[in-house]
Symmetry: C2
Subunit: 156 residues, 2 copies
Amino acid sequence: MFVRELSREECIALVSSHHIGRLACARDDQPYIVPIQYAFTANRLYGFSMPGQKVDWMRANPLVCVQIDAFSDRGSWKSAVIYGKYRELPDTPQGHQERLQAWSLLEKRTNWWEPGGLKPAEQTVVGTSPHLFFVIEIDEMTGRAAGEDAVDVSSH
Amino acid sequence: MFVRELSREECIALVSSHHIGRLACARDDQPYIVPIQYAFTANRLYGFSMPGQKVDWMRANPLVCVQIDAFSDRGSWKSAVIYGKYRELPDTPQGHQERLQAWSLLEKRTNWWEPGGLKPAEQTVVGTSPHLFFVIEIDEMTGRAAGEDAVDVSSH
């Protein structure tokens, strides 16, 4: 078994086939990690969140890192690392269409019981709920794999 | 199902029963996440790494965050977040004993094929190998759980 770099296409395949990752933000040189649910499309990750520490930090510093991995029972693994910038989708008439697009992508994969979830009725989410929708604009995406033949990237 | 805070004892139980987490470091406000293998003892995480980006960044800025989680097949989860400081265990006669202690803890759980692994012979690791040993001194540890009855924290 050896470690090798993933191609961009392999990174996209890994990120596309999952919907839970770990997001890190930073404030005053202190990083902070949380699990997030996401939807990937066209060089963007869409996500949603309740207000709180990570949103406060990303508003102050939009530079983030998202990491997605897959482990197999046989010990092989793949991991992708994304550098990107946080951009909030405002709850305004102008932002309504992009929030609807984000939610239409997210609702296909996200589960209310998973971290960051608490999925209310759809109309509430895109309307007046306290949920925030955001985009991570991807600047760079790299990845590594070891013993990859055994990794099933189709699950979780 | 609801989300609740974990007590310190529950965080310790979660972190103690796992050996893979995600570590974030930061440079110039840009966070970076990598999976790590660790051993937890007495308010410290021990880890080891090949030289590279995360070591370079942690040498420049020792503030890190480590996140450990457990998901069950039934959708429940627990997550612990640790704020701490990176401290390298130097390969010097004075540091030899602490490196041996780190390795004695790590070798019980770590697997060379997992991320950060590439486990060589033990003597090589604590002696002249390119592996670096480090400690994360824990400043703060918090956690959350949802639907926790279904989470088996004893695996992974």
